[in-house]
């Protein structure tokens, strides 16, 4: 089977430890440091050798990064803070979340498969590396195409003329979090800051995240209130982001109009943050076909749900 390379694993017990290692190792010559939580994306990537690290800092031993708590003072309906290493499965099952943010709970529950939701974390899902079929391949395979722009190579094989990497976001929770106006807390040895999730993402497959390498995403802050009234809309958004977005373009446009008439902001935000960049790249017809293909075939575990969403949303929105 594929094997991990040698690296140093630091199992941080406090946030201060983790930020300190990040600061020192990150500054050291010839050292690459990465953070790991559930490892469902990093470990396979390191096995395939397209993500490399000399030091990996695990956040799973830091107690305060795990769990859901009220971050504000406004009682039950106040701001909700989700620790970055909270398991996706714990989130999906959390009664508070299911009651107040059913769209988010549903979206999280649809990520990958049960074993991966039992390992994967919400922080990891937000920060997850971008994906591409020219990139998420083994070392040997990538050698066969002489690598690609994202890692070790010079050409973006998705569009050989492209000056930037077209690998796309693989975060399934991000669209809903954006729609909810969620914010994230970033902590580093140099200090803390809080930024909106929507502002975290960049339209670039390599430099995709507005988080500095020495920062740790510690918390996701959900605004006071609830998304219950907009659950269905967010559902569509969730299913129609990224490649799926292209495929459901027509339908989404119709949804978009519907939403707009009803004054629902969620769908508008999703279109803005996750579909526009794709449209901006003016996909060729072939890519469009491929996207359809990906919609149905590649994202097999999404296909059912997307279909489900299609059937459940359309009638209920009217």
């Amino acid at each position: 089977m594929l094997r991990l390379p040698e690296f140093q694993l630091v199992s941080a017990q406090t946030l201060a430890d983790a930020t300190a290692v990040l600061a020192s190792e990150g500054a050291a010559e010839g050292r690459t440091v990465r953070l790991v939580a559930g490892g469902t994306d990093l470990w396979p990537n390191m096995k395939r050798r397209h993500q490399k690290a000399t030091t990996v800092v695990s956040l799973m031993g830091i107690p305060e990064l795990r769990g859901i708590r009220n971050g504000g003072n406004a009682g039950d309906a106040g701001e909700l803070a989700i620790g970055a290493t909270t398991l996706l499965d714990d989130l999906a099952r959390d009664q508070r979340l299911r009651a107040r943010y059913p769209a988010l709970a549903t979206a999280v529950d649809s990520i990958s498969s049960p074993p991966l939701r039992n390992m994967g974390t919400i922080g990891g899902n937000v920060c997850v590396d971008t994906r591409c079929t020219y990139y998420n391949q083994t070392e040997d395979w990538r050698r066969a195409i002489d690598y690609c722009l994202k890692e070790d190579g010079t050409t973006c094989w998705v569009a050989p003329g492209s000056p930037k990497c077209l690998a796309h976001s693989a975060s399934d929770s991000a669209p809903v979090l954006c729609a909810l106006d969620a914010r994230v807390k970033l902590v580093s040895a140099a200090g803390d800051r809080t930024v909106p999730v929507a502002g975290l993402f960049r339209n670039d497959g390599i430099d995709y995240l507005g988080k500095r390498p020495d920062e740790i995403l510690t918390e996701i802050l959900l605004p006071a209130g609830s998304d219950a009234g907009h659950c269905r809309a967010a559902w569509v958004g969730h299913c129609s982001f990224q490649r799926r977005a292209v495929h459901l373009r027509k339908r989404s446009e119709r949804q978009y109009r519907l939403q707009k008439e009803r004054g629902c902001k969620f769908q508008i935000q999703m279109l803005k943050h996750f579909q526009k960049p794709l449209w901006d790249t003016s996909l060729a017809e072939a890519d469009w076909e491929e996207s359809v293909f990906f919609y149905r075939v590649v994202d097999q575990w999404h296909s059912r749900r997307a279909t489900f969403a299609r059937y459940t949303t359309t009638p209920r929105l009217s």
């Binding site: 594929l2 390379p5 050798r49 998420n136 083994t138 395979w141 066969a144 359809v292 149905r296």
Partner: protein, 852 residues
């Protein structure tokens, strides 16, 4: 066997106690508790690990290999290159074109170039990444069209010509006259994309060196016997010093039926290092082993004549073009199979088949469940649905009106046995209420019908010989236990259970009394392996013969001891007793003791040789089988006309299995076939990326991982209603026929036909992606042909056709214009290596005389 032919057939009226009733599979408990040891579970003292260094270029000469950096990795024990394994091998005698490690040339990304052994898997992996290979690139071939158009450079220096591996042209009867008689001629061009087996277990092998230059290879293989032969050949040591043990396979589906380079390299490394060597492929390497479904472009042309309300085919011609990938594998047989079984479902008085296989720089294609027949079956069944549409007939009635008859000999000289297709069609038509609902469902909903037929074991072995294709030995002793030895390989299909059940049934004991020893070339008699749906029929017959002999020995001894005529003895419930007075008798254990006392140590054998096929022309070796299974399926789909998305909503399938040995396993196989068929029509494809030629030579598998090669999950699986049609075939044990492959065949065309019923467009291509449906719908809306699919069949010269008169023409099964056949007096046949059967039988008779 000549001897067995004289023995009286088992009394047909015997009441069955075990056969036909559901029972727990004999390996079930071990599999669900994790007790079963697959090849990768094995460990031996001092075992080391092997990793293959695979080519990263699609087509190149090897200039040099540099192990310097790799050798410095701590734990590395040694390397191997192609120079140390110069003897080629391959599953078919005509395609001995593979090397365990490429000596001078690589032919696809993934071709093994060198091997590294190390004390840990990690070290072997790191070292393999550090091996540097210097390549001199050659032209990359990425398609059949390119291979036809570009004869040089040749990917192989053998084959029919240029980069054409094989070209076949066979004409049965007067096809032109048939078309001339037709009222109407229909023509279609269709495409079936390649896909792979995706067994859960990745291939693994452990080679253990023994004293005296012997080696034992444990492997996840469907065909230990062929691996045994390949190992002896390439290692250049006597076959008696090589032992192959096939571990339980975690799925095979045809993907583990070739001898593989990693098995041979592990054995060589074990002999070189003098310590056990394990090699476990990763998923990417399994995609490179491939041997899966050939991509096939087809052109079907059919003449139809209406006689009153009946419709008859007057002639059919079929052309197929196969993208074979970089090596021969089973390819020659696969090419023949794309034409062979077209005739066994609907009566075709005249038939022409032209097929060709091209070499390209991709992992080699080979046999996947249905071996070469799902592609033309898809073509034929969609084609017939279009004929029904044009003639405004119900597709079920059209098919029922032109079914071939049981016991018929087809135009291409296949002898059909029992034929339950009518009952299959009736069952699914009734179950799905096809007559009431077809063409009448609301828009977006549709029903489609299709049929299929498959072999119960190929009539000829892969290398020509006149030996049994399956052998079974039974050992009985005073414990009352029955040990059964057979070379068959359990790949999950339930062959162990069939073997045990057949013996237990004949001897009247329980499954728990049977001890199996299987798939061990040192200990078990040869069975050719778990491929071509041959095991139940062939091994079952051999097991029956061995068990009948054992029963005869016991009956003789018991009859003498308690003075009951042999004819009245019953073997049941672990007893041997008088049918007239069940109280009189003895336990099975006592019966064995009586027999052992009388005859000495007890052992019996059984063997199976298939009956002779009537076809005698060159190429007649592919297609014949002792029996054919039949299947019919109706699929209901729902299509969204706005997005082209479609989903199967229900599958009704009826399979003519002859007789169920164990109905639960038969049901499992039918549902498994439906599942795999849906995967092929919905999403699975072994697709490749050819980077822009002006920038790169690269030709890579698009996504050699389960992250992106998509296969259905249980969420995608619709409800399946299965009807088991039992029409016992005289050739099968207790009348049993195959069920492992046939049920897959009608699924893909039934879906395509259902999509047409739902939205009125044709997708003449597999898999059927939503965008194809959408394109066809857009074409329809624009007033163009409501279709998505290939435009034309490539221009290709198949060479002079072999003209074979049909049985109705008064032919004798030979071709009238085969100068080679006449010149060589039948020295070659199907795969080009077999001497004629008479000659072999003559030799066999001679041998029988001299050994007596």
């Amino acid at each position: 066997m000549a001897e067995s032919a004289e023995k009286p057939a088992p009394e047909p009226e015997r009441e069955l106690r075990l056969i036909g009733k559901p029972f727990r599979r004999v390996d079930g408990r071990a599999k669900v508790t994790g007790e079963t040891r697959f090849a990768d579970d094995l460990a031996f003292p001092r075992m080391c690990f092997l990793k293959l260094v695979r080519s990263t270029v699609p087509h190149a000469r090897i200039r040099g290999i540099d192990f310097a950096a790799a050798a410095k990795v701590p734990g590395v024990l040694g390397f191997l290159t192609g120079q140390e394994l110069p003897i080629p091998f391959g599953i078919l005698p005509v395609s001995q074109d593979e090397h365990a490690l490429c000596p001078d040339r690589v032919r696809f990304v993934g071709d093994p170039v060198a091997a590294v052994a190390a004390t840990t898997e990690d070290a072997a992996y790191e070292a393999a990444l550090l091996v540097k290979v210097d390549y001199e690139p050659l032209l990359t071939f990425s398609s059949v069209e390119q291979a036809i158009a570009t004869p040089e450079p040749r990917i192989h220096d053998y084959g029919d010509h240029g980069n054409v591996h094989k070209a076949i042209s066979l004409t049965f009867g007067n096809v032109e006259a048939g078309f001339a008689q037709a009222d109407e001629i229909f023509e279609d061009v269709l495409f079936y994309e390649g896909n792979t087996h995706l067994p859960m277990e990745q291939h693994a092998a452990v080679a253990v060196p023994e004293d005296d230059e012997r080696v034992t290879v444990y492997s996840s293989t469907q065909t230990p016997h062929y691996v045994h032969r390949a190992l002896a050949k390439v290692l250049a040591i006597p076959a008696s010093r090589v032992r192959v043990i096939a571990c339980s396979n975690g799925g095979g589906f045809g993907g583990k039926s070739d001898p593989f380079n990693h098995e041979i390299v592990a054995a060589k490394m074990a002999l070189k290092l003098g310590r056990p060597v394990k090699v476990t492929l990763n998923r990417e390497e399994v995609f490179y082993c491939h041997r899966g479904r050939h991509p096939v472009l087809m052109e079907v042309r059919t003449g139809i004549r209406r006689q009153g309300d009946r419709v008859a085919i007057t002639a059919q011609s079929l052309r197929t073009a196969l993208d074979g990938g970089a090596y021969g594998s089973y390819g020659v047989a696969s090419t023949y199979y794309t034409g062979a079984l077209q005739t066994v479902t609907y009566r075709m008085p005249a038939y022409r088949f032209e097929g060709m296989r091209a070499f390209t720089n991709k992992p080699p294609c080979g046999p996947k469940r249905g071996h070469g027949t799902p592609q033309p079956r898809f073509g034929l069944e969609v084609h017939i649905d279009k004929i029904a549409e044009k003639l405004r007939l119900n597709p079920a009635d059209l098919r029922l009106g032109m079914l071939e008859k049981a016991g018929a000999v087809t135009a291409n000289w296949l002898q059909i046995g029992s034929m339950g297709l009518r009952r299959c069609i009736d069952a699914v038509v009734a179950g799905s209420r096809f007559r009431e609902r077809w063409g009448k469902l609301p828009p977006g909903r549709g029903l489609g019908l299709a049929c299929g037929s498959y072999l119960c074991g190929a009539g000829l072995p892969i290398y020509w010989n006149h030996l049994p294709q399956s052998g079974v030995q039974i050992k009985l002793d005073r414990s009352g236990g029955v040990a059964v030895f057979c070379g068959e390989a359990e790949i999950g299909q339930g062959s162990d259970s069939v073997l045990a059940a057949v013996v237990a049934e004949v001897l009247g004991v329980e499954l728990a009394d049977i001890r199996l020893c299987v798939a061990d070339t040192d200990l078990t008699p040869v069975d050719l392996g778990s491929y071509s749906s041959r095991v139940t029929l062939m091994m079952g017959n051999a097991a029956m013969e061995a068990a009948e002999q054992a029963r005869e020995l016991l009956a003789t001894a018991v009859s003498d001891q308690i003075e009951i005529p042999i004819g009245r003895l019953v073997f049941a419930e672990r007893r041997v007793f008088d049918a007239a007075d069940p109280e009189r008798g003895m336990s099975f254990e006592e019966a064995v003791i009586a027999a052992e006392a009388r005859f000495g140590t007890l052992g019996t054998t059984g063997s199976y040789v298939p009956p002779r096929s009537p076809g005698r022309y060159r190429g007649a070796g592919v297609g014949p089988s002792p029996a054919y299974s039949y299947t019919a399926a109706v699929v209901e789909v729902e299509v969204d006309p706005e997005t082209g998305l479609w989903d199967p909503r229900h599958v009704w399938i009826a399979h003519d299995v002859g007789r169920c040995i164990n109905p639960v396993l038969v049901l499992g196989q039918v549902e498994g076939g439906v599942y795999m068929g849906l995967g092929e029509v919905m999403m699975e494809e072994q697709a490749f990326r050819r980077l822009p030629p002006r920038l790169s030579d690269a030709l890579v598998h698009k996504f050699p991982s389960m992250l992106e090669y998509k296969s259905p999950t249980f969420e995608d699986m619709p409800p399946v209603t299965t009807y088991l049609i039992e029409d016992p075939d005289p050739s099968g044990p207790f009348g049993a026929k195959e069920v492992g492959q046939g049920p897959l065949l009608p699924v893909m065309p039934a879906v395509a036909n259902a999509i047409f019923d739902a939205v009125g467009v044709r997708v003449d291509q597999v898999p059927i992606h939503p965008h194809m449906v959408l394109k066809a719908l857009q074409a329809k809306a624009a007033g163009a042909a409501p279709r998505y699919g290939p435009a034309a069949f490539p221009r290709f010269d198949f060479g002079e056709t072999l003209v074979v008169p049909t049985p109705a023409d008064g032919g004798d099964g030979t071709a009238i214009n085969d100068y080679r056949e006449k010149l060589r007096a039948g020295m070659r046949s199907a795969s080009g290596t077999m001497t004629t059967r008479e000659e072999a039988l003559r030799e066999k008779r001679l041998r029988a005389l001299t050994t007596k």
